[in-house]
């Protein structure tokens, strides 16, 4: 760690914060400013001007958009995210009750998929060109190039309908025992893992292969080192940066996958809440969910960059 790296990291984090601010402006513009008059839409065409004006001032639409944006952003930062149009519950309450479920799903998925993907990716890179590599790569391409919902439906068909091992719906109650919770989580986690593992495996394999083609690896081979030693002590330390990068980036794919998976399995998570709110055009909830997802995404992408910077020996020993 030296000053140069710290400055680079600070720059990167600052950039992410600015991006987040810009994203919030875009989200607000798309959901609250561009679609036109929300009060008009709610009351219909034949509303009296008085009723319209009253609703507008009630919804706070009578102030200019930048002021509304500032107010919204302030509310978001202080945890007061407004009220849902559909249920008239505070948005923070609706989200607070579902966020732990989503985090549980994402956490379990990451816990399982990272070791599996890294293992398979490294093995595929080491045994490049063999049948093992071809099989794994073909499987990964197949999973990546079909939509998540297809993987999920096939998994339901296989494990829930044909083999009857696992329940097809994932409901997590509060008073369920642990093994029951885990059983009901198995299907969503399994399908999410398929998608994430495929992404991560491809990137890991590419990163390790990139290292294995470097001239110093040939030197190590000429020196007579065993292939285990070659991979573990020579190639892997150099590939850690790209691999960490790949892990963080793949986990950001989780955000897209989770939207589909939670809907299919009717899982009471935050992505399901977002999809339902979009269908009901419940803007306050949509805005907050979108901001949570974008913030997570930006965090993961920034983390990927940070890993790349920290693990780069050329920057470390400058």
């Amino acid at each position: 760690m030296n000053l140069f790296i710290l400055r680079l990291l600070a720059r990167r984090v600052g950039l992410a914060l600015i991006s987040l601010l810009a994203v919030s402006a875009i989200v607000f513009a798309i959901t609250a400013v561009l679609p036109g008059d929300a009060a008009q839409e709610q009351l219909g065409q034949d509303a009296t001007p008085e009723a319209l004006a009253a609703l507008r001032s009630q919804m706070g639409l009578d102030v200019p958009a930048p002021v509304r944006y500032a107010h919204w952003l302030g509310g978001l930062l202080t945890g007061d995210a407004g009220e849902s149009l559909a249920t008239h519950m505070p948005v923070s309450e609706a989200i607070g009750s579902r966020l732990p479920n989503s985090l549980l799903l994402a956490g379990l998925t990451a816990l399982i998929s990272v070791p599996v993907a890294l293992g398979l990716g490294i093995l595929a890179a080491v045994y490049r060109g063999t049948w093992f590599d071809r099989g794994v790569s073909l499987g990964a391409v197949a999973v990546v190039s079909v939509p998540e919902f297809l993987v999920a439906t096939l998994a339901v068909l296989l494990f829930a309908v044909q083999l009857r091992w696992l329940p097809a719906l994932a409901y997590v109650g509060n008073d369920e025992s642990w093994d029951k919770v885990l059983r009901s989580l198995a299907m969503p986690v399994l399908t999410l893992c398929c998608v994430i593992v495929a992404q991560m495996l491809r990137m890991t394999r590419a990163a390790v292969i990139d290292q294995l083609q470097a001239p110093y690896i040939e030197m190590v081979r000429l020196k007579g080192a065993s292939s285990t030693r070659l991979v573990l002590f020579h190639a892997l330390p150099n590939a850690i940066g790209p691999i960490a990068n790949a892990v963080a980036l793949s986990l950001s794919y989780l955000l897209g996958g989770v939207i589909i998976i939670e809907t299919i399995f009717n899982y009471p998570g935050i992505a399901k809440l977002m999809v339902d709110s979009v269908a009901q055009r419940d803007m306050p909830v949509v805005q907050v969910c979108a901001m949570i997802f974008c913030a997570t995404y930006l965090t993961l992408v920034t983390l990927a960059d940070v890993c790349g910077i920290v693990a780069n020996p050329r920057l470390r020993y400058r």
């Binding site: 989200v27 190039s145 079909v146 803007m283 974008c294």
Partner: protein, 326 residues
């Protein structure tokens, strides 16, 4: 052909002369070599050797590439001519059967309302294939145009465009689509525009990184010195040299758009009933999943075959180096 056969540019004047004397043919090594080095792939990987210098490079697709091409062409034809050939509302003779099995009359069985599944899939092809194609072409077209503009214009325009589009990439694609649907509804045009907006930044980023490398070439400098206008340099000097990799990128982007639109439809937020693309077909008939009915398997297979076909073609393109990166 001094410059053409030597990968290292030793002497500027030789290049300059070469560029001034003749219009540069697009498909010789002169142009693929800088491209190859720009994307980190040796010229041999692009399928060009010194021997093929001067002769136009033929696409070598290989068997799997051609299989992909055939499937792709089949779906394209189905999307264009399917609705003309098959009338989905034709009264089904015989008894009405929900989730009917595969038969001579209904090649793919029937759906949850007893409609012929083959007709539904062919009609869905129009939405899935054509809509995605239109969005992809828009996204890549706009992306390339902006990238060329950013490359040849000053630093200010470049910085503004790059930062602005980078901000868009900070929103995950599905999230952006959901926000757009929440705000503007999900008409067919809105979906096309949404998908196009989502994939402009990716196309822009790749096109710009390619164009910046070309822009540093001597023949571009020569063209500038010659007094050519900005539009000429964009169109005649840079564009022909980035078209190859951008085509591969276009295919990849097409796959992303297909998956995105299908996912949206699957969530019930894409194409609205009674119209249906393949995503909505899977959603409609998901009830038949437990029976393993063709009604849910057929559209799912259709999506898979389309995306796999595109992947096969791209993987076997000579300039596959443009792959990767979203």
């Amino acid at each position: 052909m001094y410059a053409a056969s030597s990968p290292i540019r030793v002497c500027v004047t030789a290049d300059a002369l070469n560029a001034m004397q003749e219009p540069r043919p697009v498909s010789t090594t002169t142009n693929t070599t800088p491209l190859a080095s720009a994307t980190g792939v040796s010229p041999a990987a692009l399928g060009t050797t010194d021997k093929s210098c001067g002769r136009p490079r033929r696409p070598r697709l290989g068997i799997s590439g051609w299989i992909g091409c055939v499937i792709l062409l089949g779906w394209l034809l189905a999307a264009i001519f399917g609705p003309i050939l098959i009338n989905p509302d034709a009264p089904a003779s015989g008894e009405f059967q929900v989730f009917g099995p595969v038969s001579a009359q209904h090649w793919l069985g029937t759906d949850y309302l007893g409609r012929d599944m083959l007709a539904r899939v062919l009609l869905g092809a129009r939405y899935t294939v054509c809509l995605a194609l239109v969005s992809t072409l828009c996204a890549s077209g706009i992306g390339i145009t902006l990238a060329l503009l950013a490359t040849v214009s000053g630093r200010w325009i470049d910085a503004c465009l790059s930062r602005g589009l980078d901000t868009l990439t900070a929103i995950p694609s599905k999230m952006f689509a959901l926000i757009m649907v929440a705000a503007f509804g999900s008409s067919v045009w809105m979906l096309a525009i949404t998908a196009a907006i989502i994939y402009v930044p990716g196309a822009y980023r790749i096109a710009r990184s390619l164009a910046v490398n070309i822009n540093a070439m001597d023949y571009v400098t020569v063209a500038r010195t010659r007094g050519e206008g900005t539009a000429y340099i964009m169109r005649q000097e840079i564009l022909p040299n980035i078209v190859g990799p951008m085509l591969a990128d276009l295919g990849l982007r097409f796959v992303y758009v297909v998956l995105l639109l299908a996912s949206l439809s699957f969530l019930g937020l894409g194409i609205q009933p009674p119209e249906a693309d393949w995503g909505s077909l899977v959603r409609e008939n998901i009830g038949a999943l437990s029976e393993g009915s063709m009604a849910v398997v057929a559209p799912a297979l259709a999506i898979a075959s389309l995306t796999m076909a595109v992947n096969l073609v791209i993987d076997n393109l000579p300039g596959r180096s443009a792959r990767g990166g979203k």
